[in-house]
Symmetry: C2
Subunit: 211 residues, 2 copies
DNA sequence: GTCTATACTGAGATAGAC
DNA sequence: GTCTATCTCAGTATAGAC
């Protein structure tokens, strides 16, 4: 990779992390990086795509670590399947540790997560990993209807994303601000949710009455 | 409220809903509303604050309905406290119904939710309601340590927000696309999570080893 | 293939007349 | 309260030097 491209990525990562995506203009970045404005568009095409590369550079190792932990859990549980808790651990621990190290960076993730524009590219990078985990959850919860498992996975991602990228002023205080402790809270919570009995038709009826 | 202000709010709500916040310029809005550009800054101060008012106008009734349902659940359970499921129902059903009616609008909520800037004002409007619900959850789950309950509430809000405002292409398919059914899935999931046993210290130790 | 200089279009914001 | 005119600054596009 060229030196210019490298400098742009490093500077953008720092400035985006410190001040947020919207607050940092391309002209701020080129001033600090000592490069030309057009170099950004030459190497990345647009500000959005620059952000995407900045984020992906840090997220890739997290996803690799997730898969490695899942591999290990499956090897340990063979010939059976690992329990929900172990799958959750593999999925949640790597990003929780990253969040503990660089909270600023996670705010950027939150932006990408909330934006529609980058979703397609985002999904492409995550899909192989997500699919591996979906299978693992299905094996750990064989009795749950498929549609309900899909929704529970959706809820899980929401809870995780909010924990990782949510605004700091809304985060509860934690003894020691220990990322492992918070990850533990989340694993306990999610395993309870994933293991809950499937939705009873009676509840849907009650909800319809109240609407 | 002046006619100009009303026209701006109505037009902004429609355009933001149809095309998203970033894609709609103030100049689009004034063209369709037939008002002057400066009128927006006179009445709202900035584009961000306009969005905030647009959103709040629709969210206020939802919060009122939440409190009314909680009141009713508490009256029915007196002299005891309502179970977690009933509290969740009061909290989740009103926004789920709104999301079913106007999915476009919920994407705007997602933006506010993800942005740091509006958080303070956002919080001020939600705090009284959130506090009422926090108390209700505490009464329904008297054995859970306070710190852990705070985190579980945080996770709950993340799961709800992701269900309501998440990108449509990531939402699982649902039989009949019934908002009550999805709300039911969420209530079943969250009551399992909230009722889960408190975090075991052993789990934290295991996580620390793997880090 | 890389990078620089410069120009273009459209955004949100504002001062001051009415 | 409302409008005109104007300002500043953003992201983007292109022509051409190395």
């Amino acid at each position: 990779m060229s030196d210019t491209k490298q400098k742009i990525l490093d500077t953008a990562e720092r400035l985006f992390g410190e001040q947020g995506f919207g607050a940092v203009s391309l002209r701020h970045i080129i001033a600090e990086a000592g490069v030309n404005l057009a170099a950004i568009h030459y190497h990345f095409g647009s500000k959005e795509e620059l952000l995407l590369e900045v984020v992906m550079r840090k997220v890739q190792p997290v996803n690799e670590r997730r898969l490695a932990l899942l591999d290990r859990a499956e090897a340990e549980a063979a010939p059976g399947a690992p329990p929900v808790e172990k799958v959750l651990e593999a999925f949640l621990l790597p990003p929780a540790l990253l969040a503990g190290q660089s909270p600023d960076f996670m705010k950027l993730m939150g932006r990408l997560h909330a934006e529609g524009s980058a979703t397609a590219i985002f999904l492409k990078h995550f899909e192989p990993m997500i699919n591996r985990f979906r299978e693992a959850f299905q094996k750990a919860l064989p009795d749950l209807p498929e549609e309900e498992l899909a929704w529970r996975t959706h809820f899980m991602i929401g809870a995780m994303a909010h924990m990782l990228t949510g605004p700091p002023e809304r985060r509860p205080a934690t003894s020691g601000e220990d990322p492992c402790r918070v990850a533990g809270y989340l694993i306990a919570f999610l395993s309870g949710g994933l293991r809950a009995p499937a939705l009873a038709p009676a509840l849907v009826a009650v909800l319809k009455e109240n609407q």
